[in-house]
Symmetry: C2
Subunit: 229 residues, 2 copies
DNA sequence: ACCTGAACACCGTTCAAGT
DNA sequence: ACCTGAACACCGTTCAAGT
C-alpha cells in the first residue's frame, strides 16, 4: 500500500490548476489550512512539489484560491427582512464560514481573493447598500469596511476557538483587563468585565449596527487629489 | 570568528525572558518578524532552540511579546485638537507602527498582546471616548472595534506594501473589480474605480469617522444574558 | 511545454541526558 | 532548576535535467 488515496483512481490524472485547487480544498476540509502545503499537496497528487509551480505561483496564491472556492458557500440570497437585515445575514454567513476555518480568515487579510465568488459577495453587498439608499460613493468605500470588519472578527476570534494554544493568550488578556490597577488604568478598571464580556452574537450585531449607522451618517470627504485634466 | 554578534560581550550572558524578547525585537527590526524564529534567536543568543522553551511557550507567544514591546512607541499623548482629533492621532500612530511592520499586525490578530503597553493604549482610547461623552457600555465595546479596525487595516495594507508577492494579488483584485462585466456585476461596474481608489489617508479618515459616528449613534442592545442573582 | 529529482536553506517542538 | 544535543517531522522554492 504505497499511497493513501488510491481508491478508484487507477491512472494518475494529469495535473491542472483546477485539480490542484480541488485537492487543496479537500485537504483544508480534512486537516485545516495549515496542512495545505506544496509538499502535502504534491503527495496527494502523487507528484513532487516542484511540479505544482507550473500552475500555482506560491503558497499564498494557493491559499487565496482555496478561500475563493470556499466563498461559494456564502448565502447571498437570504429571505425576509429589510435590506439591513438581509445584509446582516449575508455578512453573518460570511463570518460563519471564516469562523469554521479561522486560518482562512487570516489568509483573506494577506492575499485578497479576486475570483468570481468574491466578486459575487461584493456585488451583493453593494446591491443591498443601494437598496438602503446609501450613496454610491459611501457604498464604494463601505463595502470594504464591512468585509474587512467581518474578516478581522473571524481572524481574531477564530484563533481563539480552534487552537488551544491561543486560549492562553486570550485568558492572559482577559486577566490583564479585569485585574487592572485602578490607580494606573482607571478607565479599564471602571469598565472591568464589560470590556471582554457579552455574547459574541450581541457584539457582532452591535458592531454591524455601528458600521451601518456610521456609513449612513458620514459623508465622504471632498477628494484631495487633483482633478483629472 | 565563530559568532556574528561577538562585540563587547566576552561571556555569554545568562538566558532570560527579557533577553530573549530583546533579541527578538532586534531581529525583527533588522530582518522582519518572519525571521523571529526559535532557531534564529537561539543562534543570536548562542544557544540551542530547545533552551528558549524554558522562558517562552511558543513562537506565537514570542511574537505577541515583540508586539507589546513595540507598542511602547505609540504616541498616547498627542497635543491639540479635541478628543476626536486626539483619538484619531493615537490610532494613526498605532496604525503607522503596524504599517512599518506588517507581519506584526497579523500577529496582533492571532495572539492578542496583554502587556503594559497594550493596556496603556486601551486605557488611552477609553479615556478619550469618556471625554467625548461616549457612554461607558459603548466605550467598552467600541475600543475593541476601533483597535480591531486599525489592526486589520494595517494587516491588509501591510501585506501589499512589503511583499512584492502580494502586489500581484492586489492587482488581480483591482483588475477584477474595474473590469467587471456590467451584465453580471452591475453595481461593481457602476462604481468601478471608486471601489479601490482614493488616497489611503482619506479612506482611513473616513473609516475612523464612520466608527465614531456609529458608536455615538448606536445604543447597545439590552443584555440577553440572565441577570446575576 | 511540462514535469521531476534532488538539493538548498530553512522551520517548531520534544525529550532524554547532562550539569 | 536550567540547559542542551540530537532527533523527529516537517516547510518553500529553485534549478538542472529529463521527456
Amino acid at each position: 500500500m504505497p499511497g493513501i488515496s488510491r481508491r478508484e483512481r487507477p491512472a494518475k490524472p494529469a495535473l491542472s490548476r483546477e485539480g490542484i485547487v480541488g485537492a487543496a480544498v479537500a485537504v483544508m476540509r480534512a486537516e485545516g489550512l495549515d496542512r495545505v502545503t506544496m509538499r502535502r499537496l504534491a503527495q496527494e497528487l502523487d507528484t513532487g512539489p516542484a511540479s505544482l509551480y507550473v500552475y500555482v505561483r506560491s503558497t499564498a496564491e494557493l491559499h487565496a484560491a482555496v478561500l475563493d472556492a470556499l466563498l461559494g458557500e456564502v448565502d447571498l440570497t437570504p429571505t425576509g427582512g429589510d435590506w439591513r437585515e438581509r445584509l446582516r445575514r449575508v455578512l453573518d454567513s460570511y463570518i460563519g464560514l471564516l469562523f469554521d476555518n479561522p486560518s482562512l480568515a487570516r489568509a483573506a487579510l494577506v492575499a485578497r481573493p479576486s475570483g468570481t465568488n468574491y466578486l459575487n459577495l461584493v456585488e451583493t453587498v453593494l446591491a443591498l447598500l443601494k437598496t438602503g439608499g446609501v450613496p454610491d460613493d459611501r457604498a464604494a468605500w463601505g463595502v470594504d469596511l464591512l468585509l474587512l470588519q467581518a474578516t478581522a472578527t473571524a481572524a481574531e476570534h477564530g484563533a481563539q476557538a480552534r487552537q488551544l494554544d491561543r486560549d492562553d493568550d486570550w485568558d492572559a488578556l482577559r486577566a490583564a483587563l479585569t485585574g487592572a490597577d485602578p490607580a494606573v488604568h482607571p478607565r479599564i478598571a471602571a469598565l472591568g468585565d464589560d470590556l471582554v464580556s457579552g455574547p459574541p452574537r450581541d457584539r457582532h450585531r452591535w458592531q454591524f449596527d455601528v458600521l451601518i449607522t456610521g456609513v449612513l451618517g458620514t459623508p465622504r470627504p471632498p477628494s484631495t487629489t487633483r482633478e483629472p485634466s
